[in-house]
Structure formats: structure tokens, C-alpha cells
């Protein structure tokens, strides 16, 4: 009896407890890699493409900055574009305003993990580590430019240092730290060093990454012109001496691949019927380009064919005639009241119904210029720009105007303008402007050196028009906040849900989740900046 019990007891206990030796293997994910067999190079394309996706589409840029900076206009209310055109919370405002924070930190985390893995695996991969760090900075710069004070010194350290609640650093500390780190990291790049295998921006060309690093340094430096001109000058000159972009071939962009799920978020958003049919170039933008007789007008803009059906037909090209192009003023709707677009000054009238289409209706905003479908929206693999030669040249031009040792202002301006015109061809052949034509136009429209103000106006207007029409809306808005150009008239749309008190927003509010996920540090940050509002100015954006 006893023996039987003991025997059975022993057997069952052994069965249960003894064969856990397979358990480590059973609890190893069979569909994924571990750090042992994973190549950190694979994370680089993700960090790169995620950055570009973050500055595109509904993650913020299209809904907010494209219209806050009055590059686009949208005469509807309510729609999710009311956030941008009319500063009225609509659609899922709270989600939109958290997007850049969440997406940019996660893109930065991918880049940080490259560095973590290099250390963990004991690899010698200085170039890969440095490029990863530059991509990380690119993302963190985006966060601080959008929100102001944010975690930097303790950011991205949950895995390595168990930092679950990072403190928010002041932007006035973040910028010098970023510039300092960037400077030392660029110096470690070595074209004869380790190879980077999965880079989708420069295919591992270290010389180009060096140029990119200095170009980014220049952009960061120039952010500080209002608040710390000395630092701005120091790093702008360092960037010039180090060697920034030197031709449009250096432009940093990501070529999307829609068939594999990598989609240009601006293009795909603008393919949504409501967006396609209603988003228009703004009046300030078209007025500026037309006043200069800019050849880009007929490239970037088109008037849809008559009537509603043709307007909504995404495969139908519009009319590119220079003289016909008209930008739409911001702040209107189509609700029939006092703010109806038909009441706007210079309203071109309705686009008449196409008699060839049965049941077609007139279209209220059909005679305003829209972004050329063939250039921007039709192809979901349209490349997305990160930083261009045109931008760096325009920034150098301003630095030169300010008297810093970065070369000649007029030359930089000329190069910038010519490069700008030559950049649209990267998006699509529909945007190609021959180099000779670009040069000819740049020669005919030299920098106005009559006064510093005249020069700065011209440079920064050009910067706004160039970044805006290359669909880098955030940069257009950043530079507007920094430089004050163009002088925009805020929209003051009647009604409710306004989040900016009738002023053009100067930042985005922190994600509401920060209050619960990192409450103590968030509260400290809010009390430092005063009010967590869109009209609160950040450090580099002082009045």
C-alpha cells in the first residue's frame, strides 16, 4: 500500500517538476531573432523611414503645420483640417497632437537600439553608431521643435538604465547639448571605416552622412538666431567649415515603396476624397510665387477641370496655366454664412458643372489651385524630403547676411533658389525643372542686398515657399516662428473649440498621456513653461 502510494507520488511529481529543462526553449519566440543573431543595421531603415512618416500626413504636419504656416488652405467646417486652417479642435485633435511625440521618440528608439546592440554585441561599428546617433538627433530635434521642453538627457533609457520616468529638459539645455554631441559625432565618421549596409538615405555613403551632419548642425544653429546668436554663429561657421551639402545630389530623402507597405503619408492622405477635393494652395503662397514670376507655379499647381466629378477625379490632370493659378485664403467654409468661401475677396467663382457629365454639379472651390496631382498625390511611393541643399544654402545666405564667416550671401541665395527649383524632379518627373532653366531663373532673381531686412525677407520667404512646396510643412512653420517670415494674418474663425485664441499656434501641446505616464515630470515641465498651450512660445521662439 505504502509502497504503491510512494511510487505513484514520486512518478507524478517527477513528471510535473523534472522536465522543465525544455522550458527555456519553449519560451523563446520562434518567429523573431534575439540580439545574438540580429544585425543592428536592419534597424536603420526603420528609424529613417519612421522619421519621414512622422513629419508627414495625419501625424500632424498636414493637419496642423501645413495650414498654420498657410502653405495650404481648406474651406470647410467642420473637418479635421479645421485644426490647421481654423485652429479649431476637430476630428481627433488629441490623437493628432500626440502623434509626433510618440512617433518621433519611437523612431529615435530604433536608432538608439542600434547603438545599444553594437555595445551589447561588442561590435566595432563606429560609422553605424554615429549615423544612428545622427538619426536619433534628427528625431529628438523634431520633438523639441514641436513641443519645447521635453525629455532629452534621460530619454530612451528604459531598457539600458531602467529610466521609466525621464525628466524634461529645458530646450535651452537641449539645443547646446545636441549641437555639441553632433559636432563630436560627425568627427568620428570615417569613409574607410565600417560599412553601413541598410541605409536607405545614402546607401551607406559616409561622406554624404558627414555633409548631412553639418547641414543638420546648420539648421539647428540657425534655430537659435533669436535667442542665442553667438552659439548660432559658432555652429553655423563650424558647419560651413566642415562642409555641408554641395549640390541637389546631396538632398536627404526617403524613397517610399508602396507595394511593400511603405507609403508616403502625405500622398495617401491627399488621396482621401475629402482631402483631394478640398485641400488647396494658400493665397499667400500663390501670391508670393506669382509675384516673382516663379516657374514653379505651373509645376506645383493646377486648376481642376470643371465641375464636381472632374474635380474629384484623381486621375484627371488640371490646368497648369500660370495666369489662372489662384491660392485660397485661409479661414473660410462652405456653409453659406458670413464665412462662406464665396464671400472671400477675390473669389474666382464656382467651377461650372461639366455638361458632358450627366448630373454633374458646380464645385464651389474648383477654381482654386490645388497641389498638382501628378506630382504629389498620385504615386504613393513619392519620396519624402528630410533636408535639402536648397534649405542649407538659404540658411547660409541668412548667416552670411548676418555677417558670419560662411561665404557670400548672394551666392548662397542663388544656389539655394536654383537648387530649390531642381528638387521637384526628385518627387516625380512631372516636377522636373531643367537645371538650365533653374539657373536662368536664379540669375534673373538675385538676392536683394539693398538692406539686411530686404535680404532676410527675401531669403526667408523663399525658405517658406521652398520647404512648403517640397511638403516639409514643419520646417516651413519652424522657420516662420524663427524668422517671422512670411508675415501671416491669423485666422479668426467664429465658433467654438478654438485652441489658440485667434493666434497662429507656435507649438503643439504635450500628449495627454504624459500626465498619467510621467506625471511628476510632466507637471514640473508645465509649471516651467507656464501654460501647456499652443500659443506658449518655446525658448528659441522668443518674441
Amino acid at each position: 500500500m505504502k509502497k504503491l502510494l510512494i511510487y505513484i507520488g514520486a512518478v507524478t511529481t517527477m513528471v510535473a517538476a523534472s522536465c522543465t529543462k525544455d522550458f527555456d526553449k519553449i519560451n523563446t519566440n520562434p518567429t523573431q531573432a534575439s540580439s545574438d543573431n540580429f544585425d543592428p543595421n536592419l534597424l536603420l531603415p526603420r528609424a529613417e523611414v519612421d522619421y519621414v512618416s512622422t513629419i508627414q500626413g495625419y501625424s500632424g504636419a498636414l493637419l496642423f503645420q501645413s495650414m498654420w504656416a498657410q502653405v495650404f488652405a481648406n474651406a470647410e467646417y467642420p473637418t479635421y483640417y479645421s485644426n490647421g486652417d481654423k485652429y479649431i479642435a476637430s476630428g481627433n485633435y488629441t490623437t493628432y497632437t500626440a502623434s509626433i511625440w510618440n512617433n518621433a521618440y519611437q523612431a529615435a528608439s530604433k536608432a538608439k537600439e542600434i547603438q545599444n546592440l553594437i555595445v551589447e554585441k561588442g561590435m566595432t561599428a563606429t560609422n553605424l553608431s554615429s549615423v544612428a546617433f545622427i538619426v536619433q538627433l534628427l528625431n529628438l530635434e523634431l520633438v523639441t521643435d514641436i513641443y519645447g521642453d521635453c525629455p532629452y538627457s534621460q530619454a530612451l533609457q528604459a531598457k539600458t538604465d531602467n529610466v521609466a520616468f525621464p525628466v524634461y529638459d529645458k530646450q535651452s539645455d537641449i539645443y547646446p547639448a545636441m549641437l555639441n554631441s553632433l559636432d563630436s559625432v560627425i568627427s568620428t565618421l570615417n569613409a574607410s571605416g565600417d560599412k553601413i549596409t541598410n541605409d536607405i538615405i545614402y546607401k551607406g555613403d559616409i561622406e554624404k552622412w558627414k555633409k548631412f551632419g553639418y547641414s543638420l548642425m546648420l539648421r539647428m544653429a540657425m534655430r537659435l538666431t533669436k535667442v542665442d546668436a553667438a552659439t548660432a554663429q559658432k555652429y553655423a561657421e563650424k558647419a560651413y567649415a566642415g562642409g555641408a551639402f554641395s549640390s541637389v545630389a546631396d538632398n536627404a530623402f526617403v524613397a517610399f515603396d508602396n507595394a511593400n507597405g511603405f507609403t508616403n503619408a502625405n500622398s495617401s492622405a491627399l488621396q482621401v476624397p475629402e482631402d483631394f477635393s478640398q485641400v488647396r494652395w494658400s493665397k499667400p503662397l500663390m501670391d508670393f510665387l506669382k509675384a516673382n514670376g516663379d516657374p514653379r507655379v505651373s509645376v506645383i499647381a493646377e486648376i481642376p477641370m470643371n465641375g464636381t466629378a472632374n474635380n474629384n477625379n484623381k486621375s484627371l490632370d488640371g490646368d497648369h496655366t500660370f495666369a489662372k493659378q489662384i491660392g485660397m485664403p485661409n479661414g473660410y467654409d462652405q456653409n453659406g454664412g458670413a464665412t462662406d468661401i464665396s464671400k472671400a475677396a477675390g473669389y474666382p467663382g464656382v467651377s461650372p458643372a461639366d455638361p458632358a457629365i450627366t448630373g454633374d454639379a458646380p464645385f464651389a472651390v474648383g477654381l482654386y489651385s490645388r497641389p498638382t496631382a501628378a506630382l504629389y498625390t498620385r504615386n504613393l511611393s513619392t519620396p519624402g524630403f528630410i533636408l535639402t541643399y536648397a534649405e542649407t544654402e538659404l540658411l547660409f545666405a541668412e548667416a552670411a547676411v548676418r555677417g558670419w564667416s560662411v561665404g557670400d550671401a548672394a551666392t548662397h541665395y542663388h544656389n539655394g533658389l536654383s537648387a530649390a527649383l531642381q528638387s521637384y524632379g526628385t518627387l516625380n518627373s512631372a516636377g522636373a525643372i531643367p537645371a538650365a532653366d533653374a539657373e536662368a531663373y536664379a540669375n534673373a532673381a538675385p538676392l536683394n542686398t539693398s538692406s539686411t531686412t530686404a535680404s532676410l525677407t527675401q531669403i526667408n520667404m523663399q525658405f517658406w515657399a521652398t520647404t512648403g512646396t517640397l511638403f516639409n510643412f514643419i520646417e516651413a512653420w519652424n522657420n516662420w516662428r524663427r524668422s517671422g517670415y512670411p508675415a501671416l494674418t491669423p485666422v479668426n474663425y467664429p465658433g467654438t473649440g478654438g485652441f489658440s485664441n485667434g493666434q497662429i499656434p507656435r507649438r503643439e501641446v504635450y500628449p495627454s498621456s504624459e500626465a498619467s505616464n510621467n506625471g511628476e515630470n510632466y507637471n514640473a515641465a508645465v509649471s516651467t513653461i507656464g501654460k501647456d498651450e499652443v500659443i506658449t512660445r518655446m525658448w528659441w521662439d522668443k518674441e
Partner: protein, 1035 residues
């Protein structure tokens, strides 16, 4: 047997204690045996001498020996589930043979406990409840779990507003832990079955794809036994922490074949709980739309002019009457129906029994082209292969196909978007949903708000499941008191998913005019359980019986899925993954194992005192491959319980039965998912030929341990007046430690969430079940039962910093639910008004109230007091019964409230339409003098989410059944048919009381704990009426 070691000291002590109560007299020995009508011995039957305290219980072979007084005596024999027997014994009779008949007139019941072990309920040291199958089948729910609502103290069952194929939220004793959906473990005939949710809607939309228990055909269920406390379920170890519900399916019994047919037909009538304003129509700022574009933008905005019967332009440019339109609800939703046919054959011989059933269910849901078809086959075989070896086979095969499961909440493809049309807009003007060219007729300012007509006519969201739950077990009786059992249980699910965003869907067009997308996948889920058990039932002395079980369990869970997706379609309307411009794929595979050993030991002193203890040792694969020492990954968890039937000592004429019970138990648990103890990297699609890699945004935890749950429970089971009145009371307190869950992180950490293992939650509760028979006559009987549950939940710990753990939200996104330390979970966090120093509502320069940016706790979403009242009246062959259930103490976060206020539909928004609203104070306490327009005011008000937190209390008439039985007697002369029972049934009939305006307080779009108490834009609730016909045939 004589070689047994002496019983443990405490047993001796107890024997000594209680033996002193015995009456000592002149005695003689009497032996005997107690058997049932099938000549099987009855174990632990009580044999007593009438008029004395002399009694004993029978041994495993049914035998007993008793020292009885000299002279003529009468023996009384009682056994649970059997009619009591009295046997006269003459002075010279040395042994007796007693035969007992199964019956219902019993003191107590045999109940199924953990591992399928049948026990006398009066011996249990913990609380369990049993629901009989016939309580689930008449006024049935497609998901049988919902039928338990209001029936069991301590159990709370809530459905989703996702149609009859939806998931049930089943909570035993409140929210049992933070990290799980809370669902108890379902065990069907000893085989743990998968009850995981196959997909659900979040704030961004999605569809509820149902759960596991919803597959089971209620006609096959004999009983459902709810093991509430940890002591009751402790033998299930790791999976017992949420409680256990045991399902026992029907079996055959000895005799010729019984053929039974059941038909159930019910119709589901959608209920409109809204009471909106019909005075102002579509428009903005008091004006009706003037252009077609403005009409399109305001189809869902009721801020227009007074409805005066004038003409108004529509979204299509046509003119319509500016009049109230009341039929949007009935125009769009239809009456659903469910027809269930079940045929079963059962029987048995001397050495075995069988039952086979086949069932078919067909359902049309309240939205067009949506419904369920379910076929089940159930087989139950039991055979004594030899005298000592018994083999049983149970197989349950299910084929369930769900057509067009509805998308809920705020996302594309939701068919419920007409719920927020302005009061003059007739949804039929958006029919049929598609233009002649096939493109969607967009009906609002937002392309992602899909036209519901287009959804029901064009969208596809089908799920299919083929499932086999089977077990094979063999039991070998070495002797009459020791047995060994081996069992293989297997649950295999083969799931198919197909969802199509069809050609023509507005937001999906690309520039080439192509549109739509498809996602198709297949998943295989299996659970294998191997159990080996050795059991001993033995009487140590005549008064003390001993019962022990020793077992081991090996559990394997495997999951594999593969899917393809893509879009838009190259050839329109050809919905296959090959026909797409760009494609994606998905692949998933997880494996997990648990190895366990357990014991259970029970000592009983007569029917008076029972002490039992269990223990279980678990090793979880999910905790391996980690950074902690092995001894911390495996865990032993014990339980102790005892019962004391004190009424035995009282001999009271009022108290017919009285038991006190107490227990202590600990159970353990593992992470909800495998592979959370290490960092992994994945390879994704290539971009222009360059491979890419990524990793999860959830940070794993390298230091996970099993979590534990500890519970103390005391209770009493009392029966009065010959069992005419009964009370079962339980009080418990339970606490979890080291709970493993996902905690949100700020994205600035590099991750958006992490696995934390610090959680702790406490539940304290009181459960009372009263049963009574106020009237019991020859022709008329009235039975009543009332249950009451009180639960007090408290979150003790979240992560190391005590941060809130964010859970669910609704799409206006101005409030959410969260676990908040010190408060019941989940707690609604919402924005309040901003007040000045004097506590007055502060308004801004435009006269609009200001949202306080802080989120304030507004109450828990789970009820604190709930239960049900069941009445059953039997008059001759008629039976009328009804169930009322009630629910108090919870709050609801209502998106319906938000939208109805924001969109000017709520009656609240009628105030100030003409003159605006002047309210509130400034910083200095001066009354505001600026009038805000009604639209401006209420659209601001809607964002002060406190206003959208509603009270969830209700009292509901849950169920009514009226049955008439044609008895065997009455049908004597009728051929073929033996008995017929006809029932008229109604379910979810109406609320006697509710406090939530415009919504059903039970509404919700997701059954998980994360979204408990959050509702909006989901299917309407339904009221169910129908008939049930049960026919038993002659053989």
C-alpha cells in the same frame, strides 16, 4: 488496511471531543450495505438509528457497521440526491441491505467540484453554486455565459453590444486581477477549454469576434458549477485565480434509448433608448444649411433652426422637408431571430451509457446581412470495459460561422453611424449606400464615417470556427477504495477570418481609381491537458473517512496563425488577396507549457466535520528564459478548508441544516502572454529591396515571477423549516501580489509600454443567496430565490511609482479608465469644470466653461452591489418564472452622451437655443454677463467629460418563462410522444429603473476589463421573445 499508520493527532482529538457527546447505552453490532437501484454501492450514505444519536456513514463499498441499542429499532438512511429510507430492524437481525431510490427530496446535493470530483455539498469548506441546464435553455442566449446573469451570487456577466456572437465579460468576485480579462477558467467535463477573445473593438473601432464559451450549445449542458473562491478552485492552480466554472454535459443513463427534441425560436427586437430633441434640425449656429456642402457637413449636427416644415437643401442638392423624422432607428435595424434545433439520443446498459446530440442554430442579427450559423455535435460515451476499468469518451464538435460581425465604436465600417443623425434627416436618403458607379455615398463631413447602408450591403467581416473539444479518460479501480485515472483533454480551434473593405469605400481610393482592401487569415489554437490522478476513499474508522487525491497535469498551449492582406483591388469586386496592388503578410506562433503536481486530502468525521487541504506545484514555461533563479519561477500554493455541520448537534425543529465553513487558499498565475522575459527583434518588409528590422514597443521584463492570489473565506449554509427556507452566506477577502501586466510608458523612454510585475489588487465581498418555498401545496408551489453580492475592490499597487495604469478610452478622447492606487478599478478619469476660489464654475471671456486640464477620478465602472431575484410559480402543469436582476454602484463613460451633446441632439441642448446661455463666474467671483451661443456652449460642455459620466444603476426584468408540460400520464394514449413541454419565453425585457439617459446601462463595445464601462456607437440592445418546445419520445 489494518497496517495504517495511526490517524493524525488532531483527528484523534476531534474524535475524542465529539465522542463525548454520544449516548452510551447497551448496544449490539449491526452490519449492512447501502446500494442504489442499479445495485451500485453508495459511499458515505448516513445511517442512523431513529430517536438516538447513533449514526455512521457507509464505506466505499457501501457497507457499514453500527453499534445499535438492543431491541427493535428503526434505521434511517439518507444520501444526497436520494430519497431517505427508513428500515425497521428486529432485535435478532445481524445485517441489513438497504436500497435507495434517486430522488429530489433531499437535504443537500452532490456537487461537482474541482477536477470533476463529486462531493457532498455539505462537506465543502467553501462556496460554490450550481446552475442546472434547464435554466439556460428556455429563454436562451446564443452565448450561454450570458444566461448566468443574475443567477449566482458573486458572479457578474455582461455582454457586448456586438450582437449575439459577441463576447461575455464574466467576473467572479469582482475584478479578480488587473492583468487578465477576468474570465474564469471554463472546464468542460474535466477538460479546460479556451475562452479567449478572438478580437474586439477599441476606441478606434474594430469588431467583437466572440469568445470560446459562446460556442457551446446550451442544450448539451447538464449543470454549470461556479467555483467562486480560491479554495474551491485551488486544484486548478495557475488558472484558478479568476475562479472556475465547470460545465458537465448530459450523459445517458441506464435503460432504453431516450430520444429528445428541442426547438427554440426567438426574435430579437432592437430597442432605442434615446430620447433626443426633435425641435431643432440640422445646421449650425441656429441656421439651417444653405448649400449642399453645408448639408453634408451638418447631417450629424443638430444646431440648426427650429423645425418648421419648410424646405431644406440636402447633401445631394435636393430639397427636403425640415420636419422631425422619427423612424431612423426602425428604418435601419430589423428584428433579428434565432432558431435552434437539437436532437439527442441517450441510453445505457449494464456496463455503459451513451448520449449523442446534434444541434443547429441559425441567427439573423439586427443589421442586414449579419448573423450566425452554428452546428454542434456532442458525443458522450461511458463504458465499464472490465469490472475495474471504466473508459469514457467525450467529444464536442462545433462549426460556427459568423457573417459580417459589426464594427463598433469610432472607426470605419461601423453600421451604427446613423445613431447621430440630426433630427430632420431621414437615413433612407443615403440608400442604398453606393452610387451607380459603385462608389460609396458619403453622408457626412468625414470619409472615415462610413455610410451604414454601404456597410451592411457591401462590407465583409466574417469569422469561422471549427472546434473540437474532446477527452478520453480511463479509470481503474484497484480496490473498492483506491483508483487511478488518466485523462487526455484536447481543445482545438481552427479559426478563419476574412474582412474586406469593399470596392467603392470612400476613404480607400487611390489616384488610379482603385479602392478597397482585404485581410484573410487562419489561426490554429490548441490546448492539450494530460492528467494522471490517484484517488483514495477510505473509512479509517466508522466515523472518520479519509479521501485523498494525488495528481499531475501537463498542459500545452500552441497557437499559430498566418495571414495575407492587401489593397486596393486591381479588378473591382474580386475579393481575394491575390487581386491587390500592394500586399502584406502576418505570421504568429506561440508555445507554452505548464507542468504541475497536486494533492488533495480530506478527513471527515461523520457528516459533522470535514477538513481538507490541497496543494499544487506549478512550473510555467512563460517564466523561463529569464533572468531570475529557477526556484523563483516555480511555485507551490496551498489551501486549507473546513466545514462544521453544527445542526447535527442541535436537533432543532426550525433549523433543518446548518453548516459553518472557513477556508484559506492561495493560487498562482503566469504572464498572459509567452515571450515576455526577453528582447526580440523582427524582420519586416523590405523597402525598395532593403530589408528592415524592428522590435516591440513593449519593453519585456527579465525578472518575472509567478503572481499569487490569497483568499480567506468564511461562510454559512443554513436551511430552515424542513428546507423551505435556505440561506447561503459567504464573506471573503482576497489579495493579489506581483501581478504581471502591461504598464504604459511615456514614449520618451523609448517604449510605449512595459511589462511590470508589481501589481496588487484587493477584493472584499459578501455573498448571500436566499432560497425559499413560501407556498407548497398539492397543485401550487411558489419557489423564490434571491441573491445579493457586495464587492469592494481596491487597487493596492500598480508600478513602482504608483502611476495610474491607463486602460480604455472612448473616441472623443477626453476621458479614460485607469487603475488608480487606492480606488476601485477600473476608475473613470474625466475632466471637471474649472472653479474659482469660491467653488463657482469659471468661464472664459466668451462665456464658455473652462475644462480643468487635470483628470479627476469619477468612480469605478464595476458594480459594487448586484444580484438577482428568481420567482417560480408552479400550478399543476403550468410553470411561470421570472428573473429580475439589479446592479448598483458603477459609472459609465458614455460616448453617446458626448456626441449627443456635441451634435445638439441631447434634450439638454434645448436650453438657450434662442438667447444663448449666460452662466458662470470670472476669477473674481463676478457673475459672467457674456452670452455664449447654444452651439458654442454645449460643444464646450461636451469636452468637460464629467458630463459624460453616467450612473450605471439598474433593475431589470431579465427573463420570463411560461411553461406548460404535457406529462407522461396525460400522453399515455398518444403514440410516440412521451412528454411535451411548451414554453413562452422573454429575455432582457425592460428596466424597472435605470439612471443613464439615452443609453442602455449594460451597453459596451468591448468585453475586456480595459473597456468595461465605456460605451458608444455600437449595436442597439435587443428584447427577446420566443418559444421553446421540448419533446421526449417513447421508445
Amino acid at each position: 488496511m489494518k497496517k495504517y499508520p495511526p490517524p493524525q493527532l488532531f483527528i484523534l482529538l476531534l474524535v475524542f471531543l465529539f465522542s463525548s457527546l454520544k449516548i452510551f447505552a447497551q448496544t449490539r453490532p449491526l452490519t449492512g450495505v447501502v446500494k442504489d437501484s442499479a445495485n451500485q454501492p453508495l459511499v458515505a450514505a448516513t445511517v442512523s438509528v431513529k430517536g438516538s444519536n447513533v449514526s455512521t456513514t457507509t464505506a466505499a463499498d457501501g457497507s457499514f457497521t453500527l453499534a445499535v441499542p438492543s431491541g427493535n429499532i428503526t434505521l434511517e438512511v439518507t444520501y444526497v440526491g436520494y430519497n431517505p429510507v427508513t428500515v425497521p430492524v428486529s432485535p435478532d437481525q445481524a445485517d441489513v441491505s438497504v436500497m435507495m431510490q434517486a430522488g429530489s427530496n433531499t437535504i443537500s446535493d452532490v456537487v461537482v467540484t474541482a477536477l470533476g470530483i463529486r462531493k457532498d455539498e455539505r462537506k465543502l469548506g467553501y462556496s460554490i453554486s450550481t446552475v442546472k441546464g434547464d435554466q439556460l435553455t428556455k429563454a436562451r442566449e446564443t452565448n450561454v455565459a450570458l444566461s448566468l446573469s443574475g443567477q449566482v451570487a458573486g458572479l457578474k456577466v455582461t455582454g457586448t453590444s456586438g450582437g449575439p456572437g459577441g463576447t461575455a465579460r464574466i467576473l467572479l468576485r469582482g475584478m479578480p486581477s488587473m492583468n487578465s480579462g477576468g474570465s474564469p477558467l471554463f472546464v468542460i467535463n474535466g477538460v479546460p477549454m479556451d475562452n479567449s477573445n478572438r478580437g474586439s473593438a477599441g476606441e478606434w473601432g474594430g469588431a467583437d469576434a466572440g469568445d470560446g464559451i459562446g460556442n457551446i450549445n446550451p442544450d448539451d449542458i447538464e449543470t454549470m458549477t461556479v467555483l467562486k473562491g480560491q479554495a474551491a478552485s485551488a486544484l486548478y492552480g495557475a488558472r484558478a485565480s479568476n475562479g472556475v466554472i465547470l460545465i458537465t454535459t448530459k450523459t445517458g443513463s441506464k435503460g432504453t434509448a431516450n430520444i429528445e427534441y428541442n426547438l427554440n425560436y426567438v426574435t430579437d427586437k432592437p430597442i432605442d433608448y434615446t430620447d433626443y430633441q426633435y425641435e431643432y434640425g440640422q445646421g449650425q449656429n441656429g441656421e439651417k444649411p444653405l448649400t449642399a456642402a453645408a448639408a453634408l457637413g451638418t447631417n450629424r449636427l443638430g444646431w440648426g433652426a427650429p423645425l418648421d416644415g419648410s424646405q431644406v437643401i440636402g447633401y445631394d442638392g435636393n430639397q427636403y422637408a425640415y420636419n422631425p423624422y422619427h423612424n431612423n432607428f426602425t428604418n435601419f435595424y430589423r428584428n433579428g431571430y434565432t432558431l435552434t434545433n437539437t436532437l439527442s439520443v441517450s441510453g445505457g446498459g449494464d456496463n455503459g451509457s451513451y448520449r449523442v446530440s446534434a444541434s443547429g442554430l441559425n441567427n439573423d442579427n439586427v443589421t442586414l446581412n449579419s448573423g450566425i450559423s452554428r452546428k454542434t455535435v456532442n458525443l458522450n460515451l461511458n463504458q465499464n470495459v472490465t469490472k475495474k476499468l471504466n473508459v469514457s469518451v467525450i467529444a464536442n464538435y462545433i462549426d460556427q460561422q459568423d457573417r459580417n460581425r459589426e464594427y463598433l465604436s469610432d472607426g470605419p465600417g461601423n453600421p451604427n453611424n446613423f445613431q447621430f443623425l440630426a433630427s430632420n434627416v431621414n437615413n433612407e436618403i443615403f440608400k442604398p449606400g453606393a452610387n451607380p458607379d459603385g462608389s460609396e455615398i458619403v453622408f457626412s463631413d468625414d470619409n472615415y464615417v462610413t455610410n451604414p447602408w454601404f456597410v451592411v450591403n457591401n462590407w465583409i467581416n466574417n469569422t469561422g470556427r471549427k472546434r473540437l473539444i474532446g477527452s478520453l479518460s480511463a479509470k481503474y479501480n484497484f480496490t473498492d477504495w483506491i483508483y487511478a485515472m488518466a485523462r487526455v483533454g484536447y481543445d482545438h480551434e481552427n479559426d478563419d477570418y476574412k474582412n474586406v473593405t469593399p470596392t467603392g469605400t470612400s476613404y480607400s481610393y487611390n489616384s488610379a481609381g482603385q479602392s478597397g482592401s482585404i485581410s484573410q487569415s487562419n489561426a490554429q489554437t490548441t490546448e492539450l491537458n494530460l492528467d494522471g490522478i490517484v484517488g483514495i476513499n477510505h473509512s479509517i474508522t466508522h466515523n472518520i473517512s479519509f479521501n485523498a487525491t494525488l495528481g499531475a497535469n501537463l498542459r500545452k498551449n500552441d497557437f499559430q496563425s498566418i495571414g495575407v492582406s492587401g489593397g486596393p483591388f486591381v479588378i473591382p469586386y474580386l475579393y481575394t488577396p491575390g487581386n491587390v496592388v500592394s500586399f502584406g503578410r502576418s505570421y504568429g506562433e506561440t508555445h507554452r507549457e505548464v507542468h504541475s503536481a497536486y494533492y488533495s486530502v480530506e478527513f471527515s468525521y461523520r457528516d459533522l466535520l470535514t477538513l481538507s487541504t490541497t496543494g499544487r506545484y506549478d512550473a510555467f514555461s512563460t517564466l523561463y528564459n529569464s533572468g531570475i533563479p529557477k526556484e523563483d519561477r516555480n511555485i507551490f500554493t496551498p489551501s486549507v478548508s473546513g466545514s462544521f455541520v453544527f445542526s447535527q448537534l442541535l436537533n432543532s425543529s426550525i433549523l433543518s441544516f446548518g453548516k459553518l465553513r472557513a477556508s484559506y487558499a492561495q493560487t498562482s498565475g503566469e504572464p498572459a502572454n509567452a515571450y515576455q522575459t526577453a528582447v526580440y527583434y523582427s524582420v519586416g518588409n523590405s523597402i525598395n529591396g532593403t530589408p528592415t528590422g524592428s522590435f516591440s514597443s513593449t519593453l519585456p521584463n527579465l525578472f518575472l515571477k509567478p503572481f499569487t492570489k490569497t483568499e480567506y473565506e468564511v461562510g454559512a449554509d443554513l436551511k430552515f423549516f424542513n428546507n423551505r427556507l435556505g440561506a447561503d452566506i459567504a464573506w471573503y477577502t482576497q489579495e493579489t501580489r506581483n501581478e504581471i501586466m502591461n504598464g504604459s510608458l511615456s514614449a520618451s523612454t523609448g517604449y510605449t509600454s512595459r511589462v511590470v510585475a508589481n501589481g496588487s489588487v484587493q477584493n472584499k465581498g459578501l455573498e448571500v443567496a436566499l432560497t425559499g418555498t413560501p407556498v407548497k401545496g398539492r397543485n401550487f408551489t411558489w419557489d423564490i430565490s434571491l441573491n445579493y453580492t457586495h464587492v469592494q475592490n481596491k487597487i493596492l499597487k500598480t508600478d513602482e511609482a504608483g502611476n495610474n495604469v491607463g486602460l480604455g478610452t472612448y473616441r472623443p478622447l477626453n476621458a479614460n479608465t485607469a487603475f488608480v492606487v487606492g480606488l476601485p478599478g477600473p476608475q473613470i478619469l474625466a475632466h471637471d469644470f474649472t472653479y474659482n476660489d469660491k467653488g463657482q464654475v469659471l468661464v472664459d471671456a466668451s462665456g464658455l466653461p473652462i475644462q480643468n486640464t487635470a483628470l479627476t477620478p469619477m468612480g469605478g465602472v464595476l458594480p459594487t452591489n448586484y444580484g438577482g431575484l428568481n420567482n417560480s410559480f408552479t400550478y399543476k402543469n403550468f410553470n411561470l418564472s421570472f428573473l429580475i436582476d439589479y446592479n448598483y454602484g458603477n459609472k459609465i463613460l458614455s460616448a453617446t452622451s458626448y456626441y449627443s451633446i456635441y451634435r445638439g441632439l441631447n434634450k439638454l441642448t434645448l436650453i438657450g437655443r434662442q438667447d444663448g446661455i449666460t452662466t458662470g463666474y470670472d476669477d473674481n467671483g463676478n457673475a459672467n454677463t457674456v452670452a455664449a451661443s447654444a452651439q458654442a456652449y454645449y460643444q464646450r460642455l461636451a469636452t468637460i467629460s464629467k458630463i459624460n459620466v453616467l450612473d450605471g444603476d439598474y433593475i431589470k426584468l431579465r427573463q420570463v418563462t411560461l411553461s406548460y408540460t404535457l406529462s407522461e400520464e396525460m400522453l399515455k394514449k398518444v403514440p410516440v410522444i412521451r412528454t411535451v413541454q411548451l414554453s413562452l419565453v422573454g429575455r432582457n425585457l425592460f428596466y424597472f429603473m435605470k439612471n443613464s439617459e439615452n443609453i442602455d446601462p449594460e451597453a459596451g463595445f468591448n468585453a475586456s476589463i480595459n473597456y468595461a464601462g465605456i460605451e458608444g456607437t455600437s449595436l442597439p440592445s435587443t428584447r427577446t421573445f420566443g418559444i421553446n418546445v421540448n419533446i421526449k419520445f417513447k421508445n
